[in-house]
Each structure stands twice: as structure tokens, then as C-alpha cells.
């Protein structure tokens, strides 16, 4: 038993922190919110230089051959400073491709970041719906998964996917479509006929989103095993959880520093129980989220049958932790925490949007219940 970071992982994390500290990401996030889209620095060259695009691609295909937990460490660092890097979609797409022999020829340029991929998020069936489904454009009903027609290694895909992370300016889209009711992996060039990606921003300027419309678009069918297609969805939950926990860390650190510094009635506000206890509540949720990230990071390869539960639990706890941390960050700072100039609203915006993407925090929570009850019934 060893549930701690290796020396290599600590080094990877510290290197990422150092790299990202040289960019004024928070100032850029605020300027972009003010309408200056050009204020967001292009961090892809930075990611390429650091080798992040190839994290989950095997060394034989030009990647680093690392595992989910290493990717989670990088996304945690991105989350700490709200860095706008289109890594989430790219890593998920590369994970599916790496599990499919047919995807191998595509990996080389993705591994070094010369091409960029995005993941089409489609969630596997649960105990109630029995259907693969996608996030809806509006409302609470899940939307249908894309449909693939044709046989063999080529297919034509049709469908709509809303709020797809990192889709704008991607070269390749990788995800799941249903062919004859069965899930198959598909890879679609964004330059192909019938592919439209509409760039979308919602509330948090650092999050690149796109509405993807596929109209009889030519696709390569990926021979990835069905479990691997489902695992991509859970990896998405784990990576978003990791990114959120990174944001919680910063929100808590900044709040604690202010609570030590700011005095009222002759003493630091952090000495008052009401403030102290609200900050320890953030720490409690942060610590729970971190423990579940360790579980998920280990389970993806160490206990694949537990990965859906581990990753969903991590997302559920991390998502709620970020809500709590962002609101606490604002309230501990008092009125100043709710002003445009402060960083707290940037973390609040991140929390508000994240909780509603990729099935939502509540979707992950429901999945935890689904998985736990399935285990209980099987025992």
C-alpha cells in the first residue's frame, strides 16, 4: 500500500506550477471577461514544450506514456491559476485513441501537440436510463448520443453535441456514436464536410466551449473496447475533479491569508470561530476530494471495475468543494470579494460553469448512487 505521490510526480507538479506561474492568467481571465478575447494568452505552445499533450499517449507513439493521475496533477495546476489551456478535451480524446489500434496512426502529431483533439462527451447508460446520452442544449432531459451509419472501419456520423470543452479550433474530434444501437469509438476530422463547430462562451472566459453539429460527417471507426469508451467519460469526471480541486486549493489559500491579515474589533477575523469554521469546512471538502482523486487515479489501471464509482465520487465531492470554496472566498473577503477587481469572482465563475458541464456535478452524484446500489445488489 502506498497512497502518496512519487518523486517523479512531485517533480511533474512542481514543474507545471513553475511554468504556469510565469503567465498572468488571472489578469487575462478578467480582461477576457471584459470583452478583450485577445487578452487570453495562447498557452498551447507552453503545453507543447512541457510535453503535456502526449501525457496519455504511449512512448512508442511519441507520448510520455504516463497515467491518469499524472494528467490529473497537470490539470490541478491549471485549475489553481484558472489557466485557459485546451488540454481537457485533448487528453480525453488521446486516451480513447490510445486504446484503439486503428487510432494509432493519428497519435504522432497529437502526442507532440502539432495537432489538437477534443473529446465528444457521451455518457454511458446507468441503472435507470439504459442509454448512452449527451448533455442537452437546454433543460434537464439528456440528449441522444450521435448516430453512426455504415459498416466496417468507416462510418458517417450525425448528431448534435452541446457545450463540448475545447472543441473550438480543434483538428480532430474523438468520442462515441451508436451504430445499430451499439457504442463505437469514432474519430472525425473537423475539416470534414458536415462538421460545424460554433464557439461558445458562458460566464467563465477561460473555458473554451463549442456546439458541435455533425451532419453525415465522415468518421474513422475506432476498435476500442466498449469498456474503454465508457472509461473515457469517467476519466473526464476525474480530470474535471482534479482541475476543480486545484481551484479549491487557491481559493482556500487566498482566503486563509486574508483571514490572518484582516482585523476587526482588534483581532484577525480568522480568530473568530464563524470564519475559522467556514474555512475548515472548505479544507474538509478539499481533503475528501483529494483522497478520492488518489482513489480514482489508482483505480483506472489498478481496479478498472471501480473506476466509474471512484471517478464519479471524486467529481461529486470536488464539484461541491469548489462551490463551497468559491462562495467562502467571497464571503471571507466581505464586500470586496464581490467586486470585479477581485480574483474571487473568477473562481466563482469557474465553479458556476464547471458544475454544469460534462453531465454536471449532480449527474456524477447520481452516478455514485447508481454504482453503489448496483454493488450492493450484486453482493
Amino acid at each position: 500500500m502506498n497512497l502518496a505521490l512519487s518523486d517523479e510526480q512531485v517533480f511533474l507538479r512542481e514543474a507545471a506550477r513553475g511554468t504556469l506561474s510565469r503567465v498572468k492568467t488571472l489578469e487575462a481571465a478578467r480582461a477576457a471577461l471584459d470583452g478583450d478575447e485577445g487578452a487570453l494568452p495562447d498557452l498551447w505552445p507552453t503545453a507543447k514544450e512541457a510535453g503535456w499533450p502526449g501525457l496519455l499517449i504511449g512512448e512508442g507513439d511519441g507520448g510520455a506514456g504516463l497515467d491518469a493521475f499524472d494528467a490529473m496533477l497537470i490539470l490541478g495546476e491549471c485549475g489553481r491559476v484558472l489557466a485557459a489551456i485546451p488540454l481537457l478535451g485533448h487528453l480525453l480524446a488521446s486516451a480513447i485513441l490510445s486504446d484503439a489500434p486503428a487510432g494509432a496512426p493519428l497519435l504522432g502529431p497529437l502526442a507532440v501537440g502539432d495537432r489538437r483533439a477534443a473529446y465528444l462527451p457521451v455518457s454511458p447508460p446507468d441503472d435507470i436510463s439504459g442509454q448512452w446520452s449527451a448533455d442537452p442544449a437546454h433543460g434537464v432531459e439528456r440528449a441522444p448520443a450521435p448516430i453512426a451509419a455504415g459498416s466496417g472501419s468507416e462510418a458517417r456520423v450525425g448528431g448534435e453535441l452541446w457545450f463540448v470543452p475545447d472543441a473550438p479550433d480543434a483538428d480532430l474530434l474523438v468520442g462515441v456514436a451508436l451504430r445499430g444501437g451499439e457504442p463505437v469509438g469514432v474519430a472525425i476530422e473537423t475539416s470534414a464536410d458536415g462538421v460545424t463547430i460554433e464557439t461558445t462562451r458562458r460566464y467563465d472566459a477561460t473555458r473554451s466551449l463549442g456546439h458541435v453539429s455533425l451532419d453525415d460527417a465522415e468518421a474513422l471507426v475506432l476498435d476500442a473496447p466498449p469498456d474503454s469508451l465508457a472509461a473515457a467519460w469517467y476519466l473526464a469526471q476525474a480530470l474535471l475533479a482534479a482541475e476543480s480541486i486545484g481551484s479549491v486549493e487557491t481559493a482556500l489559500e487566498v482566503s486563509v491569508a486574508y483571514a490572518k491579515d484582516r482585523h476587526t474589533f482588534g483581532r484577525a477575523i480568522g480568530s473568530y470561530q464563524a470564519v475559522k469554521h467556514s474555512l475548515t469546512e472548505v479544507l474538509r471538502q478539499l481533503d475528501n476530494g483529494r483522497s478520492l482523486l488518489y482513489y480514482a487515479g489508482w483505480a483506472r489501471r489498478g481496479a478498472p471495475a471501480e473506476f466509474p464509482l471512484a471517478a464519479s465520487a471524486a467529481r461529486s465531492v470536488a464539484g461541491r468543494a469548489l462551490d463551497q470554496a468559491a462562495r467562502t472566498m467571497i464571503s471571507v473577503h466581505g464586500g470586496i470579494g464581490a467586486t470585479w477587481e477581485h480574483d474571487a469572482p473568477l473562481y466563482f465563475r469557474r465553479a458556476q460553469l464547471s458544475r454544469r458541464l460534462l453531465g454536471g456535478t449532480s449527474g456524477a452524484t447520481d452516478r455514485v448512487a447508481s454504482e453503489l446500489m448496483a454493488q450492493a445488489s450484486a453482493a
Binding site: D287, Y294, A313
Partner: protein, 405 residues
């Protein structure tokens, strides 16, 4: 990062599992139609079982070999606990003695004390209890008022009251924190004693709780005579000695909290058995939130264990796990009772018992409020609230409080 056993750990697990398979028929039966019913029978059977576990090397796993332990690490302790749980047999009866008080004596006791007390404690021949908390000293433990006065011959006379004492009704000895000097600030005038529970002047009274059961006791001391060699860790050093016990308490909570039975699988089983509830979105949301937090505690325990293996001392953040468990179980009890209706509150329901037990557990081992204070100050580094008791002799403090009242 790896949750699997190393080859050595797997071999140890195999050895423990074999021993348990071989000796399971000798274990006391505590549930089902053939279960023991009388408390005295249960206690006797569990003491005998603890003796067998000790002979088999399944008790005192982390104790040094010279005191009858196995000299192994916390990881082996956890493996042992896991296998005992898997075999569905009771663990040791005196978890407080072996887990917290024995290690305190090993750390601070004299050679004669170690020779005299540790063996019978480990084997369940003499059960121990922890005599720290008082009616007016819980979160503020250093405010204890039980008084021990030194006689001219070096012996002591003890008077006062303790409360929340588990196992006192059948314990042979207690480890007791008493005030021996009221003229110095409160943390300085304390001394730790070993008290024979059959001494003249010791009265144990059961303390019934919400469930109607008496899981704890009040213990009264009326001019009890203690020998000079009853002191552990030196007169006036009681606070340091007590901190050692509390550190081992954190280890016990951090590694053994799952043993309380408040886990996600148990609660999910109860909901899954109810056809309508298992598809109800509100029920699922509550179960998902509770279940994910309780799962987190298991892996926090593994992180603690990893730190212990590297020789790090567990900090106060283990208290966060306790807060998560207790509040999660309280929510789970409410959820399950909402689903089952009033039947969940019938006298023989496991849920009625749990629902009754948890409000008290919220304060046990440190109230949620004092845990959050400690963690806020020692982990986050937030400043403490101003204190009115610093540097003031205990006797003056008492008179100040009386005036203020």
C-alpha cells in the same frame, strides 16, 4: 501509488487469514439466533477471545516484541483489522487499552509498570478504561478538577468525578488525569495515574443515553488511596502524557473509523432494497453525496497510513475524517428512516440504534467545534481566539469563573 499488498504484506495477510479460519469456531457469537445475550457472558467470552487473538499475534500488532506485541507497523495493523472484519469475528474487547493506554504506558511508564500491566492488558486478563473527561472538562481537557494530594509517605489521595468512561463497569484499571497542583497554570499542575478500579472509594455508575443503553459510565472517587508508584510519566507531567494518549486516539480514529460500520456499502444496501426509493432522484442525490464523502474517508485513512509508514506523526487533520463520518452517518440515518418510515424507529431496528447513538458521538473524542478550532489553528495556521486562562494559576482561574458567574 498502489493500493495492492506488497509480497511481504500479502504473506502476512495470508498468515492472519489462515489463523482466523482455523480459530473462527472459538470466536464469540454476537449476532443471530445463537448469539450470547447476557452482558456478563459477552464480556467473558470477548476477554477470552482477546487472549486467543493475542496468542495468535493478532492483538498488539504494533506493540514492541518485548511487551508481547509483534513489533510490526501500522500497515500490518490495518491488514489485521481488515481480515478480522472479513472473517466476521469480533476484534479485541479492550481497543482503548491496547490502542491508546498501553502505548502511553510504553512511552511514559516505568519498567516495573510495563512489566506488571502490559501483558495482562494485551491478553484481556485485565481490561482498562480512560479516565480523562469530567463534567466540566471535555473540550477544555486541561480544566480537570479531580484532585490528587500527596501524603507524607509519598502516596496519594484522589477525589473527584470522571464521565464518558467506556468499559469502566468491568475494567480492572484506569488511566486517570488529575490535578496535583492548583497554584500553577492549568496545563502544568496535572499528573497521570494508574487507578485500580476495585480500590475502596471508587464508584461506577452506568450513564444511559438516548437509546436507553448505558454505553458509558460516570466514575466517582472518594478519597481513594494510591501508591506512590501509581504515577505515570512523573508528577506535574500529566499534560504531556495525556497528549500522547490523544495522539494514539487520532491514529485509532484515522485507521479504525471504518470499524464503526458507517460505510457507503451498508447504507446503499438499505436503499437498494426499496424498489421505489432506489429510483427517486432526491434519494439518489442524498445517497450519492453521503456515499462519496464516506468513501473519501477510507482513502484519507490510506493516506494517513502511507504517512505513518514513512514515520510521520498524524496531525489533527484526522479530526476532519471524524466530522465527515459522523455527519454523513447522521444524514444517512435520516435518509433511510425517511425511506422506511416509522418502522426504522422500532425498538429492534439497527437504524433506531444508530440514530440514537450518533448525536452523542458528535461530541465524543472532541466536539465538532473544538476539532474545527484545532484544525483551523494548527493546519490552516489561523490565529486562536483570545484566551482568558493563559498563565493564570488554576486556583485563581476557578475563583475568577465563580465571580463572573
Amino acid at each position: 501509488m498502489d493500493l495492492d499488498d506488497t509480497p511481504q504484506q500479502a504473506a502476512y495477510r495470508e498468515q492472519v487469514r489462515n489463523w482466523l479460519e482455523q480459530h473462527k469456531p472459538e470466536a464469540p457469537v454476537l449476532a443471530g439466533p445463537n448469539a450470547l445475550r447476557e452482558e456478563s457472558e459477552i464480556i467473558a467470552a470477548r476477554r477470552a477471545w482477546q487472549g486467543k487473538l493475542a496468542e495468535g499475534g493478532l492483538a498488539g500488532v504494533t506493540w514492541p516484541k518485548e511487551y508481547g506485541g509483534q513489533g510490526l507497523g501500522p500497515i500490518e495493523q490495518v491488514i489485521c483489522n481488515q481480515e478480522i472484519g472479513r472473517a466476521r469475528v469480533p476484534g479485541i474487547l479492550d481497543a482503548i487499552g491496547v490502542g491508546m493506554l498501553g502505548p502511553t504506558i510504553i512511552a511514559h511508564g516505568g519498567d516495573e509498570q510495563k512489566t506488571r500491566y502490559l501483558g495482562p492488558m494485551l491478553h484481556g486478563d485485565e481490561v482498562w478504561c480512560q479516565l480523562f473527561s469530567e463534567p466540566a472538562a471535555g473540550s477544555d481537557l486541561a480544566a480537570v478538577q479531580a484532585r490528587a494530594r500527596r501524603e507524607e509517605d509519598g502516596s496519594w489521595r484522589l477525589s473527584g468525578q470522571k464521565v464518558w468512561t467506556t468499559n469502566a463497569q468491568f475494567a480492572s484499571f484506569g488511566l486517570l488525569l488529575a490535578r496535583t497542583d492548583s497554584d500553577v497554570p492549568k496545563h502544568k499542575g496535572l499528573t497521570m495515574f494508574i487507578v485500580p478500579m476495585d480500590a475502596e472509594g471508587v464508584t461506577v455508575r452506568g450513564l444511559r443515553q438516548i437509546s436507553g443503553e448505558a454505553e458509558f459510565n460516570e466514575v466517582f472517587f472518594d478519597d481513594v488511596a494510591l501508591d506512590a508508584d501509581a504515577v505515570v510519566g512523573g508528577a506535574g507531567n500529566g499534560w504531556t502524557t495525556a497528549l500522547t494518549t490523544l495522539m494514539f486516539e487520532r491514529v485509532t480514529i484515522g485507521l479504525g473509523s471504518e470499524g464503526l460500520g458507517y460505510n457507503s456499502a451498508r447504507f446503499a444496501r438499505a436503499i437498494a432494497a426499496e424498489e421505489d426509493a432506489r429510483e427517486d432522484p432526491e434519494v439518489r442525490r442524498a445517497l450519492g453525496e453521503i456515499g462519496s464523502e464516506l468513501m473519501a474517508v477510507r482513502f484519507t485513512g490510506y493516506r494517513t497510513l502511507t504517512a505513518l509508514q514513512k514515520g510521520q506523526v498524524p496531525g489533527p487533520e484526522a479530526g476532519l475524517a471524524k466530522i465527515t463520518i459522523v455527519n454523513g452517518a447522521i444524514r444517512a440515518g435520516d435518509l433511510i428512516a425517511d425511506v422506511l418510515g416509522p418502522d426504522a424507529l422500532s425498538a429492534d431496528s439497527e437504524w433506531a440504534y444508530m440514530i440514537s447513538f450518533l448525536p452523542g458521538l458528535k461530541s465524543a473524542g472532541g466536539t465538532e467545534e473544538i476539532l474545527r478550532n484545532t484544525i483551523g489553528e494548527r493546519v490552516l495556521g489561523l490565529p486562536p481566539a483570545p484566551r482568558l486562562d493563559k498563565g493564570i494559576p488554576f486556583s485563581e482561574l476557578r475563583s475568577q469563573e465563580a465571580t463572573a458567574a
